[in-house]
């Protein structure tokens, strides 16, 4: 039987800033016995327009992605907020266009965030770290509240040899990224990420993990600026054993 085809929607941030996450995600999907396709027509899910109130442009991008992704059985996204955009918000975007709304709904049923996909496939993680490491996990907002991602990444990370997962306080509070929010209200955003950084530091972790590159870049940027040596990565990098790559925003 042919291996089922899975489309990897890498997200614009991963594409531009951190291909490692894309390669790691592809490897993890392939390890589940699927054929990975990275549709070359993918750009962005449309959140920047959608969250700026530009519904019309958001619709146009959504439409482009629906056409691009609907031929595939499954679509996997290594980001809670972009997966949420496609799953939750695309159908809502076309509330007044029944035909597209229907296609958006059909697509939304086949789109899955990476950790959810891996858990659903019963993925077994076999990697071991070269040296023991203490990590903490930040729950990014959209993944947590729109898609209910909470246990999935933790369950996968628990299988990584040598990785100790400690919970920081307030792991569910927002890091202050928020897309354009972080440049429109930089002072408030900075206060929020400072809270996050304080919780990370008091947890004693040497590594922070999350499932959304926007949050990771924000947290990493603040950690580096404040002189902390705590490393920041997407959880997929750990699951795929890619700790040989420099962490986000470089090493401390």
């Amino acid at each position: 039987m042919a291996r089922p085809e899975v489309a990897l929607f890498a997200t614009c941030l991963v594409d531009l800033f951190r291909p490692t996450i894309g390669y790691a995600a592809a490897q993890l999907i392939a390890d589940c016995g699927a054929e990975v396709v990275v549709p070359p027509g993918q750009t962005c899910c449309g959140q920047p327009a959608y969250n700026s109130g530009d519904r019309e442009r958001a619709q146009r991008l959504a439409r482009q992605n629906i056409e691009l992704l609907e031929p595939f059985d499954r679509v996997v996204v290594p980001s809670g907020s972009c997966a949420g955009m496609i799953r939750v918000h695309y159908p809502a975007l076309f509330a007044d266009q029944p035909e597209l709304a229907e296609r958006a709904r059909a697509l939304s049923l086949r789109v899955e965030e990476l950790s959810c996909f891996l858990c659903e496939r019963g993925a077994r993680v076999t990697v071991s770290l070269p040296a023991p490491l203490r990590a903490t996990y930040h729950d990014s907002c959209s993944g947590l509240r729109e898609l209910g991602i909470k246990e999935q990444p933790r369950r996968l990370l628990a299988q990584v040899g040598g990785l100790e997962l400690v919970e920081m306080r307030e792991c569910e509070s927002c890091c202050g990224f928020g897309g354009t929010f972080c440049v429109k209200y930089p002072e408030i955003s900075t206060r929020m990420v400072d809270e996050k950084v304080a919780r990370i530091r008091e947890s004693g972790a040497e590594l922070v993990l999350a499932g959304d590159l926007g949050c990771l870049m924000n947290i990493a940027g603040r950690l580096r600026r404040s002189g902390s040596g705590v490393e920041v990565r997407h959880y997929a990098e750990v699951l795929a054993g890619r700790l040989d790559r420099p962490p986000i925003a470089g090493a401390g």
């Binding site: 594409d15 800033f17 027509g41 750009t43 109130g53 146009r60 209200y185 929020m192 600026r225």
Partner: protein, 468 residues
């Protein structure tokens, strides 16, 4: 002419530097979130209760005219009077006229957000009337000459030391700097006002259509004294406060108390139906309800309608990372936090209030805790759409979005631009892989390093055969 927008960013900056405010907000963060959590953990059916609460509110909103009529009928049958004010000016005029008709000059008033909304305090002052706020927090606010900064705790931003100083100055006294001493002192001063007042003005938490009753809850018992002792009682309430039956009110009260302060029930629940009757020991001679529309029926017909479910519990602000960073005053108007960011653009216009819906990361905490399940982030996004449609931003914002979308809709061009951006940002990042200053992104780089790309776009790389 373009309305001067609210200066949220400047206000926020000031608030972040205000040490006293920050200490006060830390108390909200630690105290109120925990107490709510505990109260809700004790009630396994809380989520079910929320569903029921939301349904009750939706039902009322769908049949508002019927319940308004029924309520007015029952109030009249009980010997009271109901007035409907279309807007804030009409509401103020109605209240002032009632006070004048009853020759009431000294007025006690318990907490009411709708009175803030219609600007009643200023109107009373201009009319030369004496007004004393009887909710402790509101009383402190009145002495300080400020505005409430929170739905439930209007004076959360004021520290105990400042309260002591305010009392010392206004009462010519010297109270101890302990909560007990300050409360005792306020009680004593307020008692005299209760007895001397000609009229009492209260808000309402719920109006029960079936019985014509007005329900107010407090933790200080002040609403009871405000409405029970003077000759005249005026209730001022938004038209959306109606509920069909007493039972519905109690369902919502359970949600309200747990969400607001983590109590099972507020300490005092007062139910009043009409003026004093033959044989009653106390109660006013005259009883009037002023129902304020002020744009609410317009909201009903829009996609913002769910905000009218709001029962003013304050949970959304207690859990909002933005509110907890900057406090209530930075929002610039009566209603604050997430619910305020939804309501204010309706009252002031989106041209003026557009910064409020933008000051959100859409983290969704507010929606998660709202006891009547108002989709607050979704409503904020609608306001952003409204703002975009009405072109409240400068041309550069629109142009930026336009160029980005134009490229993103052309995948081949997009790949090329990603390659270019990746290459140049990587060059800026140098060996350490991070950028300390990035022109055009100073909002980011003033406080954070900007991670440089690793190099080579993923989508292009993969399709060229690269695998790691």
């Amino acid at each position: 002419m373009r309305a001067e927008p609210l200066s949220l960013r400047e206000q926020a900056r000031r608030a972040l530097d205000d040490g006293e405010l920050q200490r006060a907000l830390a108390v909200v963060r630690r105290g109120w979130q925990d107490t709510r959590r505990r109260a809700i953990d004790e009630l396994p059916e809380f989520d079910e209760l929320r569903e029921i609460g939301a349904r009750i509110r939706d039902h009322v909103l769908a049949h508002l005219d019927i319940y308004l009529e029924r309520f007015a009928e029952r109030v009249r049958a009980a010997g009271g009077e109901v007035h409907v004010a279309r807007d804030a000016a009409e509401a103020r005029a109605l209240v002032l006229r009632l006070l004048e008709q009853h020759r009431a000059r000294r007025v006690t008033k318990s907490k009411s957000m709708v009175c803030e909304e219609i600007g009643l305090a200023e109107a009373m002052e201009e009319a030369g009337l004496e007004r004393v706020e009887t909710d402790l927090g509101e009383y402190i606010i009145q002495l300080a000459g400020e505005r409430p900064s929170h739905l439930i705790g209007p004076a959360v931003h004021i520290t105990q030391e400042r309260i002591r100083d305010l009392f010392a100055r206004h009462h010519q006294s010297d109270p101890d700097n302990t909560p007990e001493a300050l409360v005792a002192e306020a009680r004593q001063v307020l008692r005299r006002h209760y007895l001397e007042a000609d009229a009492g003005i209260t808000g309402a938490n719920f109006l029960v259509a079936d019985t014509g009753s007005v329900i107010t809850v407090t933790n200080e018992g002040n609403a009871e004294l405000t409405q029970g002792l003077p000759r005249l009682h005026i209730v001022v309430a938004g038209i959306e406060k109606l509920v069909p039956r007493m039972e519905d009110a109690f369902t919502l009260l359970r949600l309200l108390a747990r969400s607001a302060t983590g109590q099972e029930f507020s300490a005092y629940t007062t139910i009043i139906t009409g003026p004093r009757r033959e044989g009653d020991l106390d109660g006013p001679e005259a009883f009037h309800v002023v129902l304020v529309d002020n744009g609410r029926s317009d909201l009903l017909a829009t996609r913002f309608r769910p905000i009218l479910r709001c029962i003013r519990c304050g949970a959304c602000m207690n859990h909002c990372p933005v509110y907890l960073a900057i406090g209530g005053h930075a929002y610039g108007w009566v209603y604050v936090g997430p619910m305020g960011a939804v309501l204010t653009p309706h009252f002031l216009g989106i041209e003026k209030a557009y910064p409020l819906p933008e000051a959100s990361t859409f983290c969704g905490r507010c929606e998660e805790v709202c006891p009547v399940r108002i989709p607050l982030p979704g409503l904020l996004r609608y306001w952003r759409e409204e703002a975009f449609r009405r072109r409240v931003h400068g041309p550069s914002v629109r142009a930026g979005l336009g160029i980005w979308a134009w490229i993103a809709l052309r995948p081949r061009l997009y790949r090329f631009v990603v390659g270019l951006a990746s290459w140049s940002l990587r060059a800026l990042g140098g060996r350490r892989g991070r950028i300390r200053r990035l022109p055009g992104a100073s909002g980011w780089t003033r406080s954070r390093d900007f991670p440089a790309p690793e190099g080579g776009g993923f989508v292009a790389g993969w399709n060229r055969g690269r695998r790691r």
